[in-house]
């Protein structure tokens, strides 16, 4: 009789702290995947834009502009597409965790997604808050 009570009071107390922590990390990482994908794709797109600009430099300004814009716009559209798909997958995973009662993962993932929303809108926020001193 006493051994089960020890099992219930001591063993879970030790084992729950660790899964809670790792569950939070797991959830946060899952929630950050869309943002990570978005950032990686955008960096790659910027690099490819610069490469495209250099590759067609000899063909003149208009060809250069066209190539750079094509790469940039295609890349940004692709980035948005991948971001949306990644968000859908993340929300499905969150729903599955919720069904399984993995509250720590759910909370961490939702927090990460909230942070993602803030970081995604950061360029606009920076545009608003960056100090500008227009010439008179």
């Amino acid at each position: 009789m006493s051994s089960p009570s020890i099992d219930e009071s001591n063993a879970p107390a030790q084992s729950s702290a660790f899964p809670r922590k790792s569950g939070a990390w797991h959830g946060a990482l899952a929630g950050l995947i869309p943002l990570i994908l978005l950032i990686v794709i955008i960096i790659v797109v910027f690099i490819l834009t610069a490469v495209a600009r250099q590759l067609v430099a000899a063909s003149g300004f208009f060809a250069q502009q066209q190539a750079a814009l094509m790469v940039l716009i295609t890349g940004l559209v692709l980035a948005v597409g991948v971001y949306i798909v990644a968000l859908v997958f993340t929300f499905r995973r969150v729903a599955a965790w919720k069904q399984g009662g993995a509250v720590v993962q759910v909370r961490a993932a939702l927090w990460a997604l909230g942070v993602t929303a803030l970081l995604v809108v950061l360029p606009v926020l920076l545009g608003i808050v960056l100090p500008q001193q227009p010439a008179p």
């Binding site: 509250v103 997604l113 809108v121 360029p123 001193q133």
Partner: protein, 344 residues
């Protein structure tokens, strides 16, 4: 009873109960936040890219007249810019000495302003070129990249254009000159108006062969001007300016934040600089000249002159002051070491 229950199990059951009621609301809030942030940023990026494409493109204006229409001999020249080798078109006008002989010993590189060309009617560039040539100074006036008859290129407001001025120096020092019988210039000087002046300062800071500079209506830093002009031109709020400047960097490689003549002007010393600006310049406020002169004087051996032209608006000092402008500029260039030895 409670001691017999697993702590983790209790919190899980409670939390699940909470999440079933509040979870949907939290999830909806996050989905809304994610949607709004994505739409805002996508729209911001798209508009920034559009503004950037508008900012760096200027239709090339045709040349309306030549020095021949004002009675001077000239020849067309084509030379490459330094580093990126864009083909630049211009003309070379030999100086006319009082004896009537032609000379190229003291040559002035003349650089026009934004969205115009080497004959710039508005600033009287062709007239001034001819006046200087009649005072014995040869003139190399050319169209910067993306202007006049030169190769199309993004308008970078000095960032890339300084290579054009450096290309002009290379051309005078080692290119195939149109009047080989006159020999190579012994003294190369520079004159620029507005963007041309700022570009000349940026180029002269790197090229000691430019022995004296007349800077008419230069800006200290392009960013405050863009922060004023971009919202005006795009009819969009100021918050798009940083995005547009960043987009210009990504698409065209133009770093407008690096276009700051005020940072390099001191390195031109001991070569003389003559700053000119109109008192009624509303485009580039006259305080720019004061700031540039102060920065230039920071060098221990600085040689700086300034002239605020009463009543002159932007890039109109020559048109406003006329003969006085020519006299002052000629006096400044004449004082530059290196006399013309081809005989008067």
């Amino acid at each position: 009873m409670s001691s017999g229950r697993s702590p983790s199990g209790t919190s899980t059951i409670e939390a699940v109960a909470v999440t079933t009621t509040e979870g949907h609301r939290v999830r909806r809030v996050i989905v809304t936040l994610l949607t709004i942030s994505a739409i805002l940023t996508f729209a911001y990026s798209a508009l920034s890219i559009y503004i950037a494409t508008q900012l760096v493109y200027a239709p090339q204006k045709p040349i309306y007249a030549t020095p021949a229409s004002l009675g001077l001999i000239f020849r067309y020249v084509t030379f490459p810019s330094r580093e990126d080798h864009l083909q630049l078109r211009g003309w070379f006008i030999p100086g006319v000495l009082s004896s009537g002989r032609l000379t190229s010993q003291r040559t002035i590189i003349m650089v026009h302003g934004v969205r115009t060309n080497r004959a710039d009617k508005g600033a009287g560039l062709l007239k001034l070129s001819v006046e200087l040539a009649r005072h014995g100074f040869a003139v190399l006036a050319f169209d910067m990249r993306g202007s006049g008859e030169s190769q199309p290129a993004p308008l970078s407001l000095g960032y890339f254009e300084q290579r054009d001025v450096l290309g002009a120096v290379d051309f005078l020092r080692s290119g195939r000159l149109p009047f080989p019988e006159l020999g190579r210039p012994r003294v190369i000087t520079g004159w620029g108006v507005s963007l041309g002046a700022a570009t000349m300062l940026l180029a002269a800071a790197q090229e000691p062969a430019i022995r004296a500079i007349v800077s008419d209506s230069a800006f200290t830093d392009i960013i405050p001007i863009l922060e004023r002009e971009v919202p005006k031109g795009s009819h969009l709020p100021q918050l798009f300016t940083p995005g547009a400047l960043f987009a210009a960097r990504v698409i065209y490689g133009v770093d407008f934040y690096a276009v700051r003549p005020v940072d390099v002007v001191a390195s031109i010393a001991p070569r003389p600089i003559f700053f000119i600006q109109g008192t009624r310049d509303a485009f580039i406020p006259p305080s720019n000249m004061g700031d540039l002169a102060t920065a230039a004087r920071a060098a221990p051996n600085a040689n700086v002159q300034t002239w605020l032209v009463p009543g002159a608006t932007h890039a109109q000092s020559f048109n406003t002051a006329g003969k006085e402008y020519v006299d002052r500029v000629v006096a400044f260039y004449t004082a530059t070491p290196g006399q013309d030895s081809s005989g008067t």
